[in-house]
């Protein structure tokens, strides 16, 4: 589904990613762990298409298409979803209108007519129910005045609405209490299907107790220095990152 080969990327001339190789197949959950400042969030941003990063080398092929040649919005319509570490507050844009615009633009991209309003509203209700979100989202502005937990739940809600093939969760667990963490993790688990995949970026092993990964990668200094099963996460929790640093 996603194939990253020798990806090198920099910001302001400083190289952050120094040759990433990663293969993700449908149905898989991958976790990327690693110390702060090793390039985890950069990798997420480069896949999503944030233009502050310069891709120096390598390729990202997603379902047969070259992502690096696509604008941000097309990547999204192709099925990439990024759950932001710091979701942006957008006063004046209601969640309903935001999602309705997004859903319909993605439909347009695929040559479909806009979703009728009643169908759209029913879908919103269905996803809220599924994710155990009780808040009245409809008329609230996107993320405005939301708590940390609410923002992350809102990211998962958007993911549920857009039904991406590959969802990237960038430190979704940061700043969450255990209850919010469970809601987020349950949401992800409910959205898992044989034909979609998840890339979970986290600093701590805690989230992986709830979202169990198939493969764990350790990112250090812009490279994936180790990959393994879910037990690798446990090992990291026990030994800390110093062990990896020493090896690298």
């Amino acid at each position: 589904m996603l194939s990253i080969k020798n990806l090198r990327a920099s910001i302001n001339g400083k190289e952050i990613l120094r040759g990433i190789n990663l293969e993700i197949r449908p149905g898989e959950v991958h976790a990327i762990m690693g110390p702060n400042g090793t390039g985890k969030s950069t990798l997420a941003s480069v896949i999503a298409g944030r233009d502050i990063f310069e891709v120096e080398e390598g390729e990202i092929i997603f379902r047969g298409k070259n992502l690096l040649e696509m604008p941000v919005e097309d990547r999204s319509s192709e099925g990439i979803f990024l759950s932001f570490q710091y979701p942006v507050e957008i006063p004046g844009v209601s969640i309903t209108n935001f999602m309705r615009t997004a859903v319909n633009e993605q439909r347009k991209y695929h040559g479909l007519d806009p979703m009728p309003a009643n169908e759209f509203l029913a879908k919103m209700e269905e996803k809220k129910r599924m994710l155990d979100i009780h808040a009245k989202l409809a008329n609230r502005s996107v993320n405005e005045g939301f708590s940390g937990g609410e923002k992350k739940k809102n990211e998962i809600f958007q993911m549920a609405m857009l039904e991406p093939a590959l969802a990237i969760l960038d430190e979704t667990d940061s700043g969450l209490d255990i209850d919010a963490l469970k809601v987020v993790a349950n949401g992800v688990n409910k959205l898992r299907r044989p034909d979609n995949a998840f890339l979970v970026i986290t600093h701590y092993q805690r989230l992986l107790d709830y979202i169990v990964p198939d493969i764990v990668h350790v990112l250090f200094d812009g490279r994936i220095v180790r990959s393994g099963g879910k037990e690798l996460a446990m090992e990291l929790e026990e030994k800390g990152y110093e062990w990896i640093k020493a090896e690298a």
Partner: protein, 466 residues
Amino acid sequence: MEGITTNYNTKETLIRLFGENRPEESPAMANLREQAMEVFVQNGFPHTKLEKWRNTDLSRSLNHAYTFPLEPASDGTEPEDIFRCDVPGFNTFMVSLLNGRVTDAGKNLPQAADGVIVCSMAEAFEKHTDLIERHYAKYAGSGDNAMIALNTAFARDGVFIFVPDNVEVTEIVQTVNLIHSSEPVFVQPRNLVIMGRNSSLRLVMCDDSVDNNVGFINSVSEFVLAENARLDHYKLQNKNDHSALINNSAFHLEAGANLSTSAISLNGGLIRNETQVLLNGRGSHADVLGAYLMDRHQHIDNQVFIDHAVSDCTSNELFKGILDDSASGVFNGHILVRKDAQRTNAYQNNKNILISDKAVIDTKPFLEIYADDVKCSHGATVGQLDAEAMFYLRSRGISASNARMLLMYAFVAEIVNRISIPELRGRIDDLVKKRLRGELSVCDQCVLHCNSREQKIAFEIDMSKI
């Protein structure tokens, strides 16, 4: 020194015209005009060497061979011929002005029986002399304001509204100010709104172009709100790029009176709104709001002066604007808190988004405080669209152009959402969307009566209906 010279010597023409066209009227009125004319003769048209006009240059707007219609047009054109009223759910009592003259005098408001008067100023000058004597030209002080003085010197017509004590006017009153002429015209409507104790009124004043001809409007409106009166006032401006619109509004509030005034500027070659609010009675409150969306070479200037003359008053001022292309804007907010105006609460803010490198805004929020127990804040921001927010929206599949529009719309929505008349809010909401999509040029019909209600606006934003 004279700052503005034109090829047509507009000032001299006006002086000559003044001498040749003295209406038959009371000595008091004639005297008022003469004094006003003196102020204009001394000051001339405002020029950019004056501090208050530093960033608004009238010289280009004045450089046309204007005619100055003082009498009603005789070619029989009716405003109904140039636009239609067809907005469902928005029924107003409409007063149309064509080239500065009220055209449909004689219509009666259903509440006339309660003593409410809505008529032309020309009629009021004759029939309501007591009210005119008491209130006319008492609030928009000429001082050295040459534009107000010029208006006072020449004013012949406009809209006159009187609401007696304890009367709530249920119908929305709407004035539509149209310019329709094959040659450049310079018109000077004059409005007076008198509101009694505990009365209330909703008033929408539209300035529209119906063609692309050159026009200059120098309008003055005076509003007086007696104790506990409530005025909900909107100015909608959608003028062609060859228009100049100078709009002076003076509001006088007595104790407990409540004013909300919003200026929504969608198009216009040059627009200057001068708003003065005098909070003259304890517990009075004013919301002064504005939104502007300017592009091409359009120019918008909002000058707001709020005078907290007595204690325990509140004012709330917020102007938001988006400038694109080579558009330019000015915001000049001045709040004066006088020595005895204790426990004043005043807020003032001007926020701008510049879309292009060539767009300019000069913003100057200003507080002048002489009381010691006050709560005042002021601020101004100038920025671009937030890159983080752009990326966020696009990462959900929204195209860059729609993401940009969504953010611009959201920026202005803060003002639009405060419009308390639901049908008007919906209508202006549509207009803002159309404007942002580049679909709102100068309609061939009035802003509020654009014949496009049924047309679905494809831009998927609808704050209210879901």
